[in-house]
Symmetry: C2
Subunit: 197 residues, 2 copies
Amino acid sequence: MRVLGIDPGLTRCGVGVVEGDPGRPLSLVDVGVIRTSSDLDVPRRLVTIEKGIDAWLDEYAPDAVAIERIFARSDVSTIMGTVQAAGIAMVCGARRGIPVAQHTPSEVKAAVSGNGRADKDQVTGMVTRILRLDAPPKPADAADALAIAITHLWRGGGQTRVDTARGAAAPTAAAQRWAEALAASKAAGKSATRKRP
Amino acid sequence: MRVLGIDPGLTRCGVGVVEGDPGRPLSLVDVGVIRTSSDLDVPRRLVTIEKGIDAWLDEYAPDAVAIERIFARSDVSTIMGTVQAAGIAMVCGARRGIPVAQHTPSEVKAAVSGNGRADKDQVTGMVTRILRLDAPPKPADAADALAIAITHLWRGGGQTRVDTARGAAAPTAAAQRWAEALAASKAAGKSATRKRP
């Protein structure tokens, strides 16, 4: 299963594709950032984001799109563009018939690091380990996009909640395979990290 | 000049097309509401809005798209869908190269009724008069969409600020023609209203 993770933003929109099959470690397919110029007006910036996401969908044909869910803040004017970028991402996936899921920041942090309050460096560090990368993905938006894709895969693509830490009451066969994949992936990530100086 | 006015919303998105040329009263081309079912998830509802707006753009080929500008409220979660619908509307216009403008609710109220704090009934009443309609457009979202289109035309399509009430310091020829059109339109609207029992 291949997932396009999206960390929505008007100036920088992180995009990352992760692939994973039950019983095997996850792997990085590609990661990047769609940037838009503040010289353009908002409608044209949103069109740039739309074209960028469409290009990623064309290139990698993911089975699912996972987007970071945006939460209300006291000053909504600062997140207007982020909310609209997320809306564009939803439309890009949904009009191709690709399932679109949203995961909250704390779900993403908990999934990749085991701690819903992990900081950005911890998340980036875990993404680097889980995908056995030689260097942390940059900028942070790119690492976040990968974390969202990983979360989606580890949560069973929105179908099955896999919680290895607490243990599911009655894990399905699929959930068990995912738990094995998680363990294998984490072990692989750790040993790869140890090999490096 | 033909303008598509949009009152964005996830459940009901008002759309109205108004046509106007300098020196002539404005006229209604078409008005309606794009509805989406709450049974669908948000990505699919946004796709429905996108398809609806695209159909209106195909049908009426407007010279401009005018959208109501959304303002921050204390509880942003309630306007998330509205903000995203507005973003989709912007993209639909901008990717065709059609100029996209936004007008605030108070600008719209002031333009059509002369009072930035007019209530919904006053706005609907003035839209009915200005466009010489036999009955008020319904629902309110449809009337609002027409009010936004009227505002855009009377503000000179975003090019020239026409303010007949206070008088521009140095009105251009175009602004004067718009002022005449406004007066003619209002007079026509009033006389038409008086003719009805």
